[in-house]
C-alpha cells in the first residue's frame, strides 16, 4: 500500500513513456493556445472569466509532463494493467486492435445509412472475428440476434434513439 513515486531502477526503462510525457506537454500547449484565443471576457460579475482555468490546467499539464519525464529518467515504470483474460508476457497484438477499430469506424459510418440492426450485427461479427472467432456464420447469427433484440427492446420498447435505417418500415 505504500505510495512510492520512484520505482526501483529496473535497468532498461520503458522508453515509450517519454511519448506520454510529450503528449501531455503537447496537450498543455494546445489548452493554453486555445485559451489565448478566448476574448477578454472578465467582468465585475465574473472576475475569473473563462480563460483562467484553462491557463491553470494547461500550465499544470506542462509541469506534470516535466515531473513525469523526471520520474521516467529515474527509472519509474507504470505497471501495465493485468486482468482475467490478459496475458502480459507477449507483445501487443496490433492486428486485432486495428481490426476492432476498423469494425468500430464501419459501424459509425453505416449506423445512420443502414440502421443499427445491420451495422450493429456487422460490428459484433467483425469484432468476434478479429478476436479469434472462426465460426463466421454463428458469429453473424449471434450479432443479428443481439442487434434485433436490442433494437426492439431499446428503440421500440424504451424509446431510445437507435436508427432503423434502410429497414425502416420493415422492422
Amino acid at each position: 500500500m505504500s505510495v512510492q513515486d520512484i520505482a526501483p531502477a529496473t535497468g532498461v526503462g520503458d522508453r515509450a513513456q517519454y511519448g506520454v510525457c510529450a503528449a501531455l506537454a503537447l496537450l498543455g500547449v494546445v489548452v493554453i493556445v486555445d485559451a489565448t484565443r478566448i476574448g477578454a471576457a472578465t467582468s465585475s460579475n465574473d472576475p475569473v472569466g473563462p480563460k483562467a482555468l484553462p491557463f491553470i490546467i494547461g500550465a499544470a499539464l506542462v509541469l506534470i509532463s516535466v515531473f513525469y519525464a523526471l520520474d521516467v529518467a529515474r527509472g519509474g515504470v507504470g505497471e501495465a494493467e493485468g486482468g482475467e483474460d490478459v496475458e502480459l508476457g507477449a507483445p501487443a497484438d496490433w492486428r486485432t486492435v486495428g481490426l476492432l477499430a476498423g469494425a468500430f469506424v464501419l459501424n459509425a459510418l453505416l449506423i445512420e445509412r443502414l440502421g443499427w440492426v445491420i451495422s450493429g450485427a456487422l460490428l459484433f461479427a467483425m469484432s468476434a472475428y478479429a478476436l479469434g472467432n472462426r465460426h463466421h456464420a454463428r458469429g453473424l447469427a449471434v450479432g443479428i440476434v443481439m442487434s434485433l433484440t436490442t433494437f426492439y427492446a431499446f428503440a421500440i420498447g424504451l424509446g431510445v434513439s437507435l436508427p432503423a435505417g434502410i429497414l425502416q418500415g420493415i422492422l
Binding site: 484553462p54 490546467i57 505497471e79 468476434a128
Partner: protein, 499 residues
C-alpha cells in the same frame, strides 16, 4: 426521526409489483454482467446505463440500485472461481477464496461472500440512513469556497493516494479536467477546446467518457493481450455453510463492515485499503492462522464484507455532497446528471422522495441478491465459460449502442473510439483511470465554485479561503502533497511505516 419517515416513504414507493420486478431485473442483469470475466462493477454500471434511458427517473434509480449491488457481487464470484480478479478491490477476496475453491470449498466461499455481502450491505445502507442526513445538514451550511476546497481534496486524494504513482495520478486528473473544459463556458458562452465543432460545443457527455475509458479501453487492451488459453473455471454446486463455517464467518463480516464503511465514506478512501486491512485483521485474530494462504474462510468473509460496506459508504458523499469516491459512484453521478438532477447538498431538500427511494431500493436489491445468488451460483459459474471473442465483441457492441443513444449522433462513436484508445494507453502505461473520470465530472463543478467564490469576494483572492472547513481541507492537501518529502527526510522512520 425525519430520516426514518423518509425511508418508510421510500419503501412505500418501491414496493409495487412493477417496481419490485424492476429491482429484481436490476439485480439479475447486474450480477450476470458483473460475473462475466473482464467486467468489473464500474464497467457493469457503465455498460448498463442505456437501460435507464427510456425509463422514468424513479424506475431507473431502482434498476440502478440493483445493478450496483449485483455488479459488486458478480465481481467476487469471478475472483473466487477464476483467481484473476478484474479489479483491485477483489484482489484480497481471490487470495483465500480461490484457494478455498481449489480445495473443493467453492460452495462455502461463495456462500460466505454472498451472506457477508448481504450483512455488510444491509448494515452499510442502514448507516447511510443515519449518517447521510447529518452530512447534508452540515453541507448546506457550506459556501462555495468550502466546496471548492472539498473538491480539491477529492482531486488530490484520488490522484495522490489511490494508485501507486502520484505523477501518473495527477497526469490522469489533468487530462480529465481538460476533457471537462471542452464545450461552451456556462457564464460567458465562450467556446473552449471545441475547435469549431458544433458537436463538441455541447460539452462531452460524461457517459461517453465513462464508457470509452472503462468499456472500450478495457476491451481494446484485453484484445491486444488476449490469453489464448482460457483460464480454468472451478465447478461449483449450490453454496451453503456448515455450522462451523457460520461460527467462523459472522465476526469477520461485522469487522469487515466496520472497516469498510468509513473508508468508503471519505473522499479517496476506496475499497482497497479496508479489504486489505480486514484481511490482516482476520489473519491476526483467527484461531487457525495456519490456514491463511491455504483457503481460510475468514479471509473471504471479512474482505468481502469490507468491500460491500465500502461501496455502501460511497453513497454518503455521493448523495450528500455530490462527490464520487470510486469509479462506480462516478458513473452513478453521470446517470443522475443525464436526468438533469444535480447531485450535491441540495439534492435531499429538492428531491427527498428520489433519494429515499434510492436508499430503499438499495435495501431491496441487497435482499434480492441474497435470495437469488445462493440458488443461482452454478448458473453464474457457467457464464465464466463464455467464449472470449463473443464476450469482448459484446462489450464493444453494447458500448457503441450506449454511446450512440446518448445524443443519437455518429460523432459520439468516433469520440468513443478516441477515448477508448486513451483508455488503452492509460492501461499500457499504468496510469490510473479513476482520477480522469473524477476530473471530468467534478472539473466543471470546481470551476463554478471557483468563479462563484471570487465573485462574492469581488475578485479578491482571500475569497478562496472561506471558513475553518476550507482551512482544514487545505491543510490536508498540503499534508498529502508534502508527505513523500517528509518521509524522505526521515529515512529511519519510513521503513517502519512502509511495511
Amino acid at each position: 426521526m425525519d430520516n426514518i419517515n423518509g425511508l418508510l416513504g421510500g419503501f412505500a414507493d418501491v414496493i409495487t409489483p412493477m417496481n419490485l420486478l424492476i429491482a429484481l431485473l436490476g439485480v439479475l442483469i447486474g450480477t450476470a454482467v458483473g460475473v462475466l470475466p473482464g467486467i468489473g462493477p464500474a464497467m457493469t454500471v457503465a455498460l448498463l446505463l442505456p437501460l435507464t434511458y427510456g425509463l422514468p427517473v424513479e424506475q431507473s434509480l431502482i434498476l440502478f440500485a440493483g445493478i450496483f449491488y449485483g455488479g459488486m457481487y458478480g465481481g467476487s464470484t469471478t475472483s473466487i472461481l477464476l483467481n484473476t480478479p478484474g479489479e483491485s478491490a477483489s484482489v484480497v477476496t481471490a487470495l483465500e477464496g480461490n484457494k478455498m475453491a481449489k480445495s473443493g470449498r467453492a460452495a462455502q466461499a461463495l456462500a460466505t461472500a454472498a451472506i457477508g455481502s448481504f450483512v455488510a450491505g444491509t448494515i452499510g445502507t442502514a448507516l447511510i440512513v443515519l449518517v447521510m442526513p447529518q452530512v447534508v445538514d452540515f453541507a448546506i451550511t457550506l459556501g462555495s469556497p468550502e466546496f471548492l476546497a472539498i473538491i480539491l481534496v477529492a482531486f488530490v486524494g484520488t490522484a495522490a493516494i489511490l494508485g501507486s504513482s502520484r505523477v501518473r495520478g495527477f497526469a490522469a486528473l489533468l487530462v480529465g479536467l481538460t476533457l471537462g473544459l471542452v464545450g461552451t463556458d456556462f457564464v460567458t458562452g465562450q467556446q473552449r477546446l471545441t475547435f469549431g465543432s458544433p458537436f463538441l460545443a455541447d460539452n462531452i457527455d460524461v457517459v461517453v467518457i465513462a464508457v470509452g475509458i472503462f468499456a472500450v479501453g478495457e476491451a481494446l487492451w484485453v484484445a491486444a493481450h488476449l490469453r489464448r488459453k482460457a483460464a480454468t473455471v472451478i465447478p461449483v454446486g449450490r453454496p451453503w455453510l456448515s455450522r462451523e463455517d457460520w461460527g467462523r464467518s459472522w465476526k469477520p463480516w461485522l469487522r469487515g463492515t466496520a472497516l469498510g464503511f468509513p473508508f468508503g465514506a471519505i473522499p479517496a478512501g476506496g475499497a482497497e485499503i479496508p479489504t486489505f486491512l480486514s484481511y490482516l485483521t482476520e489473519r491476526k485474530l483467527s484461531k487457525n492462522p495456519e490456514e491463511f494462504g491455504k483457503g481460510a474462510i475468514e479471509g473471504v468473509a471479512g474482505p468481502e464484507a469490507a468491500n460491500n460496506a465500502s461501496a455502501a459508504g460511497t453513497m454518503v458523499p455521493l448523495l450528500a455532497l455530490g462527490l464520487p469516491t470510486n469509479a462506480t459512484a462516478a458513473i452513478i453521478i453521470a446517470a443522475f446528471m443525464s436526468y438533469g438532477i444535480e447531485p450535491g447538498p441540495l439534492l435531499l431538500t429538492k428531491e427527498p422522495d428520489l433519494v429515499w427511494m434510492l436508499i430503499a431500493s438499495l435495501f431491496i436489491g441487497n435482499f434480492f441478491l441474497l435470495v437469488l445468488n445462493l440458488p443461482l451460483a452454478p448458473t453464474w459459474a457457467k457464464l465464466l465459460r463464455i467464449p472470449r471473442p463473443y464476450l469482448y465483441a459484446g462489450i464493444l457492441f453494447f458500448a457503441s449502442m450506449g454511446a450512440y443513444a446518448v445524443n443519437g449522433q455518429p460523432f459520439d462513436l468516433y469520440l468513443l473510439l478516441a477515448l477508448g484508445f486513451l483508455g488503452f494507453a492509460m492501461r499500457r502505461f499504468g496510469i490510473p483511470v479513476l482520477p480522469l473520470i473524477v476530473g471530468a465530472i467534478l472539473g466543471p463543478l470546481f470551476e463554478r465554485h471557483l468563479r462563484r467564490s471570487l465573485q462574492t469576494s469581488g475578485g479578491d483572492l482571500s475569497g478562496l479561503f472561506g471558513g475553518p472547513v476550507a482551512w482544514v481541507c487545505y491543510a490536508l492537501i498540503i499534508a498529502v502533497l508534502l508527505w513523500p518529502l517528509l518521509a524522505r527526510l526521515r529515512p529511519s522512520r519510513q521503513e517502519g511505516i512502509a511495511s
